[in-house]
């Protein structure tokens, strides 16, 4: 295949930086999925659809508020909240009755939700591609090693670790986080000591959905918002969660790094078959660490 000559150059570095900002989005979305899978044991295929709603809602909020800096930041907050509200309805309306079902049934149920949401998005937003522009003060790009890196991508690089630390605090330092972890291991025992597990599950699910919406809102300015963005993402998110270790936030971060970097470097090394590398990485990881890289919550 022959390596390109400029493999160890500034071009590679900028490719890595762009890959890392995509990694941030993958991390935010897959950490939400990981929480839901780790604590509630729902393999939620509709998670990608919620991410798509996040992106479309961000677009709508911005066009409703008329654009500008304020509208942009408002959208980054309101869009995830809209998605979280949808998540609340789904959890209370459906999943809270179905926790006892086996994985396969839940997988297919969430797949049918994904089908329904896909068409609802088509009804509400139509089939055209949408886009968002970033507000003035983070437009433009920084010069790093002589190559322009958009400020927005650098901003995303800051958001990732911030979310990781935030989630770590929620899960490890707050009471509800501790209860959620206990419920992941033995929900019957948790309810036996008088805790309303249903609400803890609802909280976890809503938090996971919020993260899906946040990922969607954050990626909106650097991608074209379109139907089908759910399908391309959800399988990646699932694989990240599995290689990282179910329910482990740091695992989701590590998995996203592996996935994002093999993706961006793979395309650089071998343009035609670059998309193969992340899957190859997953196969290698699961061959040597069948239960994921880090300890799972189960």
């Amino acid at each position: 295949m022959g390596l390109p000559e400029n493999l160890f150059s500034a071009g590679t570095l900028s490719q890595i930086l762009v890959g890392l900002s995509r990694t941030t989005i993958l991390f935010i979305v897959s950490s939400g999925l990981s929480l839901i899978l780790g604590v509630l044991r729902i393999p939620n295929i509709a998670h990608g659809s919620l991410y798509m709603i996040g992106a479309f809602s961000a677009y709508s909020v911005i066009s409703f508020l008329g654009g500008g800096g304020f509208a942009f930041w408002a959208a980054m907050v309101i869009a995830p909240l809209i998605v979280a509200a949808i998540g609340f309805v789904l959890e209370r309306g459906f999943f809270s009755y179905l926790y006892e079902r086996e994985h396969l049934m839940l997988l297919l149920l969430t797949f049918s939700f994904a089908l329904i949401i896909g068409d609802l998005v088509k009804i509400f937003w139509g089939t055209e591609f949408r886009s968002i522009t970033v507000p003035g003060f983070i437009q433009g790009s920084a010069e790093i090693f002589g190559l322009p890196i958009p400020y927005y991508n650098l901003f995303l690089l800051l958001v990732g670790p911030f979310i990781a630390v935030f989630l770590w605090i929620v899960i490890n330092q707050t009471k509800i986080g501790k209860i959620a972890r206990a419920a992941a291991v033995d929900s019957e025992m948790v309810s036996a000591v008088g805790i309303n597990v249903g609400w803890v599950f609802a909280f976890t699910f809503v938090l996971g959905c919020f993260l899906a919406g946040l990922g969607g809102a954050l990626i909106a300015p650097i991608t074209s918002i379109s139907l089908g963005m759910d399908h391309s993402l959800i399988m990646e998110a699932f694989l990240i969660v599995i290689i990282g270790g179910l329910g482990n936030i740091w695992g989701a971060l590590l998995g996203s790094l592996i996935f994002g970097l093999t993706q961006s470097l793979g395309i650089l090394v071998w343009p035609q078959f670059g998309i193969v590398f992340p899957y190859l990485a997953v196969v290698v990881v699961l061959t040597f660490r069948p239960k994921g890289l880090l300890r799972s919550a189960w």
Partner: protein
């Protein structure tokens, strides 16, 4: 139970007579129903009888189809060899993937399989010079005997009938019963001396082979192949067919796939939001009929006998 072979024979006669009455397009659809039924039934061997989370069954369907199409277009070998090569390639792939995956169980098995399957899909999708990339291969030349719509239909009917009979015998054999035992309690099965992993691997290879047969039939019917056939969403659709009809009955997946293919062909034209419609139906089935349509019918009308063959 003497009535059942008679009913099946009658069904076979009706199916054989179909092309005499139906116009070409509907004959084509009937053939698609048959081969999709075979695809779903082959998946059901792994997931319904084996309890193995075969999440990416469409890969074997796709490899069966591509194997046949590539042999017919790119090699000078006789055509019947091409029709056999597809399923054999699918079985070989299934063996390799099975060896890698079978140590894992449930969700981990499924996700590793999806990853390996996506590897195959991505390779086919991008290898323009060999597989035609995302365009696929169109206009595969077939032997004269099966190149007409009628000929292709009869070929599909015969191969599907033989394959289903073989699958039925496998399910009824001691091997099939052992597989069900493993599904219900792997630990106990291992304790009485069953080689659990070997049985699962064998089930995977058989399922992959018949998935490949369905794929090669698709080439005969449609004379084309495309990478979407082995995208993971299609695998979930095949899973849904099994669920819709009933996973714990032999004929359930056939019922489910017929319902889905017929709905898609004749209903989706008339309603603008087909996925919405399908999603709502599925949600209702999962919540209210977890045993599927046929499973429900069996339970409702034959409470004593339990499972239908």
């Amino acid at each position: 139970m003497k009535r059942k072979p008679a009913a099946l024979l009658l069904l076979l006669v009706i199916l054989a007579a179909l092309p005499q009455f139906l116009p070409r397009f509907h004959t084509y659809i009937a053939a698609i129903v048959l081969l999709t039924g075979l695809l779903a039934t082959s998946l059901n061997l792994a997931i319904g009888y084996g309890g193995i989370y075969q999440f990416h069954h469409a890969v074997f369907y796709g490899v069966g189809a591509y194997g046949t199409a590539l042999m017919l277009t790119r090699s000078q070998l006789p055509a019947p060899l091409g029709l056999v090569a597809g399923p054999l390639a699918a079985a070989a792939l299934s063996l390799v993937m099975g060896i890698i995956c079978v140590r894992l169980s449930k969700l981990y098995f499924g996700m590793l399989q999806i990853s390996l399957g996506s590897l195959v899909w991505a390779t086919v999708y991008r290898w323009y010079s060999f597989t035609g990339g995302d365009d696929g291969i169109h206009g595969v030349a077939l032997p004269d005997l099966i190149s007409s719509t009628g000929g292709a239909y009869y070929y599909t009917l015969i191969v599907t009938a033989i394959s289903l009979f073989a699958l039925y015998r496998i399910v009824r054999s001691p091997f099939g019963k052992t597989l069900e035992g493993i599904r219900d309690n792997p630990v106990r099965s291992a304790a009485i001396g069953v080689n659990v992993k070997m049985h699962q691997l064998a089930a995977l290879v058989i399922a992959g082979f018949f998935g490949g047969v369905a794929g090669s039939l698709f080439v005969v019917i449609d004379t084309s192949v495309f990478p979407d056939m082995m995208f993971w969403t299609y695998s979930l659709e095949v899973l849904i067919m099994c669920l819709l009809g009933g996973m714990y009955t032999f004929f359930g997946p056939l019922v489910g796939s017929s319902i889905l293919v017929l709905l898609r062909t004749y209903v989706s034209v008339h309603i603008p939001y087909w996925h919405l419609f399908l999603g709502i139906i599925l949600t209702l089935v999962i919540i209210f009929l977890p045993d599927g349509v046929l499973g429900y019918v069996v339970r409702r009308f034959r409470p004593k006998e339990g499972r239908l063959a």
